[in-house]
Symmetry: C2
C-alpha cells in the first residue's frame, strides 16, 4: 500500500507587520536605492544581500555609459500622488456590496483606487509620479470567501458594473490599466483576503491554494511541511497564484518544476455565466473542451476571477547548490546553453547575462576592504590577464542546481564539462548565488533611477536557438538607431540575458534605459522605442511574449502573430462567455473597448 499521510490544512499566512508594500514604487516600503551626496549608492533596509553595501562604482559607470550629467545632486523628485479622478459611484451596487462584505473590505480612498489601476510598466510608474492616470477603479472590494466573489459577479452583472480582478499588481503589460472609455463604474476585486492554502495532500503531492495567496507566503508555508511549489517568477515576493495563472507565468526554476501550466492541475473560476469547477482532480486527463485551465491561462482578467487552484507540490530538494561560469562572449554562452539542453537535463535554473549586464552586476558589488578587496582584485587580474577574458566582451552564467545528491552531481558534471568546451570558466557558487539573488534587489532600480532622469525597463521574448543571437543583436541595434534618430541625450543602455532554456530555444530578457532630462514626454518616447524594439523582436523570429502576457501594451501586435480567423474566434468566445462584458479590463483584442 502506498504510504498514506492525511491531507492537512496549514496555518494561515502570518505576514510580518513590517512587510508593508509601497504604493508609489516597486517593493517593500523599507527598501529603496539612494545616492549619497558623495555618489555612493546604497539600498536601504536589510531584506536583500545588497542592503547596506556601499556601491561606489554604479554612478560613475552610469555616467560613462549613459550620460555624464547623472548626479546625486540633480534630482527629478516624484510628485506622487498625482491628481486622482473622483470615483463614479454606483449607489445601488454599493448597497449590495455593503450587504455582502464588511465595511473594512470596501475601499474608496483615492490612493488605494489608484494603486489598483496600474501595474509596473514604466509608463504607469512614470504617470503616477510625474503625470496622472486618466481612469482608475471607482471602488476596491476585498472578498474573503469564494461565495462573496460569486455574489459580487452576479451583482455586477445585474447593475452593469465592470469588474477587474487584482492579484499582486505586478504585471508589466498595462493589464490593470482601466480603459479610458469605460463609462461604467469600475470595481477592482482585490483577492488578497483569499490567501489560504486550503489543503495539502502529502501523499499525492498536491495542494489547493486560494488565488490571492502571495508567492513568498506560499513558499514559507509549504516549506514548513517540507514542500515547495517550485514556481519562482522574479516577482515572487508580491505576485499571486491567481496572477500567475491569468498571465500564464514562468518561473526561474521551470527546468525542474515546470511553468505554471505544468503545475496547475485544476482551477476554480467565477465567471459571468457561473462557476467553472470540477468534482475532483486526477493526474492528467482527456476530458474534452471543458477543462477550465485552458480557458484561463493568459486570460488576463477577461473571462472571470480565478479563486483557487489545485497545484502540484514537490518535496524540498535534498540539495540546493549555486554555481556560475564566465564565458568569453555571448555566443559562447548561448552555445553552452544549447549544448546542455542537447546532452543532459539542465539544472533548475540557468541564466546567462550579456557583457553589459555582467558589468552592471559587477558595479553592484559593494566596496571590498582588506583581504576581500585583495581577493577580488586578484580574481579580476586572473580572469582578465591570465585567462584573457575581455572585460568588454565576457559574459556570465548563473546556475541553481536542485534535486537529489545524485541528480545534482550528474548535472554539475555535465554542465561544467560542457562549459569547458565553449571556453567557460567556473566562477564559483558565491557569484552564482549573488547573481541569482540580485534579481530581487535590482527590481528596485527602476524607480530610483527615475529620480535621476533615467527611464528603464525590461521586456521579454522567446526565440528559437538558431535565431537567438541575431535577435539580440537586431534589437540592440534597433534601439540604438531609434535613440539616435530622436537625438536623445547621451547613449541608450541596452542589455539582455537569456533566462530560460527549452529544447527548441530560449527566453530572452532585454533591458533598455535612457537619460531623459530635457526630453518632452519621456515616457511616450520610451514607449515608442520599446514598440520599435518589439517590432524588431517579431521580425527576428521572436514571440510576442514568453511569460509577461499581452495586456494592453502588446495587443496592437496581435494581428501580426494571429490569423484573422484566430482573432475572430477569440472575440466570439469572449462575447459568448461574457456577453455583458462584466470583465471589461479590455486586455488583448477581445472587445472593441
Amino acid at each position: 500500500m502506498v504510504e498514506q499521510a492525511e491531507r492537512f490544512v496549514p496555518e494561515p499566512p502570518d505576514p510580518s507587520p513590517e512587510d508593508v508594500e509601497s504604493l508609489d514604487v516597486w517593493g517593500f516600503r523599507d527598501t529603496a536605492f539612494r545616492a549619497r551626496p558623495d555618489g555612493v549608492v546604497e539600498l536601504t533596509g536589510s531584506r536583500y544581500p545588497l542592503c547596506g553595501e556601499e556601491l561606489a562604482e554604479v554612478l560613475p559607470w552610469v555616467q560613462r555609459k549613459i550620460h555624464p550629467d547623472v548626479s546625486p545632486h540633480d534630482l527629478n523628485p516624484s510628485r506622487y500622488p498625482p491628481p486622482i479622478p473622483l470615483p463614479r459611484r454606483h449607489e445601488a451596487f454599493l448597497d449590495e456590496v455593503r450587504k455582502l462584505l464588511p465595511e473594512d473590505h470596501i475601499r474608496e480612498d483615492p490612493e488605494v483606487r489608484l494603486r489598483h489601476g496600474h501595474g509596473h510598466t514604466q509608463a504607469e510608474m512614470y504617470a503616477i509620479k510625474y503625470a496622472q492616470l486618466p481612469r482608475v477603479p471607482d471602488l476596491v472590494v476585498y472578498p474573503s470567501e469564494e461565495a462573496q466573489v460569486v455574489s459580487l459577479v452576479e451583482a455586477a452583472h445585474r447593475h452593469d458594473v465592470c469588474l477587474i480582478p487584482y492579484g499582486g499588481g505586478t504585471n508589466v503589460t498595462d493589464a490593470l490599466r482601466c480603459p479610458e472609455s469605460e463609462a461604467r463604474c469600475i470595481v477592482s476585486v482585490d483577492l488578497s483576503r483569499l490567501n489560504r492554502i486550503l489543503w495539502v495532500d502529502p501523499t499525492n503531492h498536491m495542494a489547493c491554494i486560494q488565488a490571492g495567496a502571495v508567492g513568498r507566503h506560499i513558499v514559507e508555508q509549504l516549506a514548513r511541511y517540507g514542500f515547495t511549489l517550485g514556481h519562482e517568477p522574479d516577482s515572487i515576493e508580491f505576485s499571486t497564484l491567481g496572477g500567475w495563472i491569468a498571465t500564464h507565468a514562468s518561473g526561474m526554476k521551470k527546468n525542474r518544476y515546470g511553468n505554471i501550466e505544468d503545475l496547475v492541475l485544476d482551477v476554480t473560476v467565477v465567471t459571468a455565466r457561473g462557476v467553472l469547477e470540477r468534482s475532483g482532480v486526477a493526474p492528467r486527463e482527456s476530458i474534452g473542451v471543458g477543462d477550465a485551465r485552458r480557458w484561463v491561462f493568459g486570460s488576463e482578467g477577461s473571462f472571470g476571477i480565478v479563486t483557487k487552484a489545485v497545484v502540484k507540490i514537490f518535496p524540498l530538494p535534498e540539495v540546493q547548490e549555486y554555481g556560475s561560469i564566465i564565458f568569453p562572449d555571448l555566443a559562447a554562452g548561448v552555445d553552452f546553453l544549447h549544448q546542455i539542453t542537447r546532452r543532459s537535463t539542465p539544472p533548475a535554473s540557468v541564466r546567462l547575462v550579456d557583457n553589459l549586464q555582467f558589468q552592471l552586476s559587477q558595479m553592484l558589488k559593494g566596496r571590498r576592504r582588506g583581504a576581500k578587496a585583495l581577493k577580488s582584485a586578484v580574481e579580476k587580474w586572473f580572469v582578465t590577464k591570465v585567462k584573457g577574458f575581455d572585460p568588454e566582451r565576457m559574459t556570465a552564467c548563473t546556475l541553481v542546481f536542485e534535486g537529489s545528491r545524485e541528480e545534482v552531481a550528474a548535472q554539475r558534471k555535465a554542465v561544467y564539462s560542457t562549459a569547458k568546451r565553449f571556453g567557460g570558466m567556473k566562477g564559483g557558487g558565491e557569484n552564482g548565488e549573488r547573481g541569482y539573488q540580485l534579481t530581487f534587489g535590482i527590481a528596485y532600480l527602476r524607480d530610483w533611477i527615475m529620480n535621476h532622469y533615467l527611464l528603464g525597463e525590461s521586456f521579454e521574448t522567446s526565440v528559437s536557438w538558431s535565431q537567438a543571437l541575431e535577435l539580440c543583436e537586431n534589437v540592440k541595434r534597433r534601439i540604438h538607431e531609434e535613440h539616435a534618430a530622436r537625438r536623445l541625450p547621451g547613449k541608450p543602455m541596452v542589455m539582455c540575458r537569456v533566462t530560460q532554456v527549452y529544447e527548441t530555444g530560449v527566453c530572452v530578457y532585454f533591458y533598455f534605459g535612457y537619460y531623459f532630462k530635457g526630453v518632452e514626454d519621456p515616457s511616450r518616447v520610451y514607449a515608442e522605442i520599446e514598440h520599435a524594439a518589439r517590432d524588431e523582436v517579431l521580425r527576428s523570429g521572436g514571440s510576442l511574449s514568453h511569460h509577461h502576457g499581452v495586456g494592453k501594451l502588446r495587443r496592437g501586435f496581435l494581428p501580426r502573430i494571429h490569423s484573422p480567423g484566430t482573432l475572430e474566434w477569440t472575440r466570439q468566445i469572449k462575447a459568448a462567455v461574457d456577453p455583458a462584458n462584466v470583465f471589461g479590463v479590455a486586455n488583448q483584442n477581445l472587445t472593441d473597448a
Copy 2:
C-alpha cells in the same frame, strides 16, 4: 554560434503495398488470431513477434477463467458487411466538391462510408459484424491540400452540410459515430492524403507535420534522419497526428517525451469561422487566449479540422533498453511505481500488469521446445518454488529505458534498487521487450474472441496514488457484481494494468470480457456493465478519461465531473465558433444533437 543545420523536407511516406488495413476488424489485413481445430491459437502473418507462435495454453485458460464452452468448434461467424444505409446525397454540394477534388478523392462506396462512421468500441465492432449502424457518412472526401480543406468547410457552411474529420479511425469512445438524428448530409473528411512531414528543423528540434500523417510513418521518416517524436500510443500503427491532438492523446513513453500537449508547439485548424494559424512559433509563449492549441486538444472534431502541427522532435536515444520486474502482488508493484516517481526520474515507460494480465501474457508465450522449454520450466520453478512468488498473485512490470548511456545507467540503478525494497525480482530484458511489444499483437484479440462468443474491451482512467489500489479493487468487484446480477454465463474476466505514472498518481487500464452465447443483445449488456464500471471509477476518485477522451460513449458522465457553469461555457463556446454546427459530430455535450 549555435551550429546551424538547414531545415529540410523529408521524402513523402512510402507505405508498403502490403500494409492494407482491414475494414471489418482491427489492424492489418494479413494479421489475425485463429484457433486451429486442435485448440492451438496462432497469429497469422509475420508482423509481430507473436506471429507463428503456437499458443497452446490460451484456450484452456479461457475455458477455465471464463467459460468451459469456448471452443474452436463453436463459432459465431461475422456477418460483415451489415446492411449499410443509403447515402443522403446533396447534389449541389457534391457538384462543388467535384470542382475541388479529383474524382478518386471522392468516395461513396458503402463499405468505405461505413468504415468512416465508427471507431473501435466493442459496440461499434459488434454492430458492423452482427447488427448494423443506423447512420453512417453519406460521402467521404480525401483532400490532399490545406486549401481544399478550407474550401470544403466553406462549401459545407453554404450548403448546410455536416463535416466529420477522420484520422485513423481508432478511437474507442464512439467519437466517429454519426448522430442518428442528423438530417443533413454527413461528409467524412478523411485526412489520409495530408500525410507529409513538411519540414524538419534539426537545429531547433522541431518538425511541421500534416495532421493525416500516421504514427508508424512519422516514426520511420524521422528515424531516417536520427530523430523521433517520442509519442507512442498503443494505436501508433494506425492513428494520426491530428487524431492525437483531437483526442488529447498520451504516449507510452511520455515520461521521457511528454504527452501530446507537451509535444505540440503550434497547430493549424480550419474552422467554420476561418483558419486558426500563427505567423511563427517560438519556444513557450504567453500570448493570451488566442493560442489555438488550447481550443483543439480534446475537441474531438467539434471545432474544426486540424490540418498540420509543429511538434518537438528528439534525437534518437543513444541507448534503448528493456527490462522487467516481477512483484509478489499488485500493491507491491504500485508501491514501487510510487517510489520511483519520488526518488528518481522514471524510465521512458513503466507499466505494471495485475496478476490476471500477467497470466494472460504467460499464456501468450508460444510452445517452447528443447533447451528453451527447459529454461522456461526452470525459470518458473525458480520464481514460484525458490523465490516463493504465488502464481495467482504475482504481478509484473515492463520497463523501457531511453536516453544517454549515463541517464539510462542512473535510471537502471535507481529502478532496480527500489524494486528490491518492494520484493521485486528482475525478470530480464527479453520479457520486458515481449511485454512491451505484446501491446500491438493483443490488439487483435478483441475481434477474434468475438467469433467465439466473447466480448472484451479496455477502458482507462487516471487516479491519485492513494486511491489507485482501492479503485482497482472497486471496479473489479463492481463488474463481478454486475455480471452476477444479470445471471450471465460463466465468469467475467477483469484485469488491469498501470500504464503511466505521474507525480500525483497513475493511469489505469481495465480489461473486461465475458461470454455471451445465449445472451440477448450482448453488446448492450457489455455497455451497461462498462457504464457501471465507469460509475465506480468516478465514485472511487478516478477521472472520466486519461487519454481516450469523451466522445459519445462517456458524455453522459460530464455533468458528474463539471459544474453547470462549465457545461454552459462549453456549449456557448461551441455555438459561438460554429453557429451552424458544421462540425456536427456531437461529441461531448456541446450541442443538443
